[in-house]
Symmetry: C2
Subunit: 387 residues, 2 copies
């Protein structure tokens, strides 16, 4: 690509994560979108979710994104976007509006199917915490392919469409061991979670080939099909070289939390060194497949003032930030991380920050201190970031 | 004051107006907050309103306001803020949070009691369209005084509190004739609207004296008590000079729509000339009472591309903008109006723009073209305004 992706994710909008909009979950025991829909009455659930969708992202946000220099957005969508999976409420009309806003404000869209029935990773962001069973039933796979082709058919000629990503963060054995999703996100229904297990790489590659085959014939040739690396950046050389793919890319998600979990010291210098190493890895991959960083953030334990143990957040466990930096120190640390990160991601095709906004409250609920570095709108206002 | 007020209203947040957040009113026949609460089931109403309050204004907005240079906000609150007027849902906990955000981000608050039982003006923003009966029952007046003293007692020692305004836009005979609220906002319940009439100036001044008396003994001496001029800027000299008031101010609302209704030509030059005249009037008033402009906006029929007949909006009637300016022409027109307006308001103590944000959609619903100039967050992004 001639233009680098200076992008951001619209997380927490059409796909919910409790930590991003905790107020939406109040007065329910729900920890994820699945149980929000099941714990509330139909009337209350629909009123909450529709109000959220109408307010969380509006035209005004697109106007600001353009003004700040953002040229791409990645939009996570749930598998029930078309409204055919009760009790979940579809939301395709909100996505339609977003496409028109994006067109009006010169922003290109990467559609990201972020959840699937039964979940592909067991994370809260897979839609149901502590369950990871997608791919075990053929019907669930077929259903996901039908959602993808329906999205492709609906938007294929829309000038704002840049690409489609068949599935977000499918988990394979490697990350399953590191993240231990079933410990980190406990299933509410133990019986439902039974049989949860990581996907195999061969299943995933087969799914990717099938998704590619079905999408490529629908989409315009210039529309990108992007595959998440399943947290295995270097596992895809043969896949891409042995297939005959047109206009495909690799999406890799890179968080400093991963660096911390792998033992990187919680200090700016160490993060920068880690990013240097990542840059070399990206260069290696970019030699055989265009690669972009579809998710990353400024969040880290050093600026959060506490060891977050891989990004455990206040909806899961509250830490006390015992080492709050001065405002000027925070600005300096974040600016260094921002500049180094963006320079690193630009070794590839560019990046999408996670995320555009969060409805957390660091003042009235100090446990959220430090989590504001996930929120690009705040990072821009605070001069931690500059597109 | 040594510092000018560079302020904005948080309109549409704790007090609803349909045109500001039309999605919140979907699937109901309601045109105002009164009927929204009555048309929806308790469960759906509460879910909508609580989600709206939690999402429409968040800490992130305060961070951005500070970054943009805003030093004051005016917060409209409804008479049922304390939750003692079912079916309306109170919202004092949201106001509490806003006070703490304001303190954290160096913003001072003017509390504005924006609605009263039965309405003080018959506008949609009085809470119930086409009804104007407040002040006819002594109990309603007593109730409003109790809300004011409760607010004063709750926030009197909060560092973010700058002032309290006893009632927004009470209407007297003069504006009653110009705006004709009962024609402009038709009552849904004709019987309830019976007996609607403007307030008399003597009633209003008596109410202001009583509110002053009760508030002054609660509030710190440095906390301002501000009175809206009831759209009669020059009617208050005797009132202020004959009373013995400490630390009071006059609030006047100045919209270009008023200029248009008084016959000003719909053209930038004419608006600028009108603003020159207003400046002279403000200087005259400022000689005997500190005066600020508590509401104004960039909205006008010229840039809207159609005669809006005094700001009639698309929830009331749809006009077709038949003269859309080029982007550069819009920027130039708005910048001229912004600069001239702010310079004029600074003849007094400064200003509060109406409003910080609107959830309208000018792309998917082109009838809203031009109404974006009511939304400061968009005006800033589009470089129409600079604090």
């Amino acid at each position: 690509m001639t233009t680098k992706i200076k992008g951001v994710n619209l997380g927490g909008w059409l796909v919910l994560e409790k930590w991003m909009t905790p107020e939406l979950f109040i007065d329910t025991p729900a920890d994820d979108e699945y149980y929000l829909a099941h714990d509330l009455s139909k009337e209350a659930y629909e009123a909450r979710i529709n109000t959220h969708r109408a307010e969380f992202m509006t035209e005004a946000d697109f106007i600001r994104m353009q003004a700040e220099g953002i040229n791409f957005i990645r939009i996570p969508v749930p598998y029930f976007i078309f409204g055919d999976r009760p009790p979940f409420v579809g939301g395709i009309e909100y996505l339609d509006r977003a496409f028109n806003w994006a067109q009006a404000y010169d922003i290109r869209i990467l559609l990201d199917l972020h959840t699937v029935p039964g979940s592909q990773n067991g994370f809260d962001n897979g839609g149901i915490s502590g369950v990871c069973k997608w791919g075990q039933e053929e019907t669930d796979v077929t259903f996901v392919l039908s959602v993808l082709t329906s999205l492709a058919t609906r938007y294929k000629n829309h000038p704002a469409l840049w690409g489609i990503q068949p599935i977000n963060e499918p988990i394979t054995e490697k990350m399953w061991e590191i993240m231990r999703p079933l410990d980190r996100y406990q299933a509410r229904d133990v019986k439902m979670a039974e049989g949860s297990r990581p996907l195999t790489m061969s299943f995933l590659q087969q799914f990717y080939r099938e998704a590619y085959k079905q999408l490529r014939v629908i989409l315009l040739p210039e529309t990108v099909i992007a595959f998440h690396d399943a947290f295995e950046l270097h596992a895809w050389k043969d896949f891409f070289e042995s297939g005959s793919f047109e206009n495909v890319m690799l999406d890799t998600h890179q968080y400093l939390m991963f660096a911390e979990m792998e033992g990187t010291k919680q200090a700016v210098e160490s993060y920068l060194t880690y990013l240097d190493g990542l840059g070399k890895e990206l260069a290696e991959v970019a030699a055989y497949i265009p690669v972009f960083v579809g998710e990353w953030s400024l969040f880290n334990s050093y600026t959060a003032g506490v060891d977050t143990q891989g990004g455990i957040n206040p909806t899961q466990q509250t830490f006390e930030a015992n080492n709050r930096l001065a405002t000027s120190e925070l600005v300096e640390a974040y600016q260094q991380l921002w500049q180094k990160s963006v320079a690193t991601w630009n070794i590839g095709e560019g990046h999408f920050f996670w995320t555009y906004k969060l409805n957390i409250d660091t003042i009235n609920e100090p446990a959220w201190y430090g989590w504001d570095s996930w929120d690009l709108s705040r990072c821009l206002s605070k001069k931690w970031a500059k597109i």
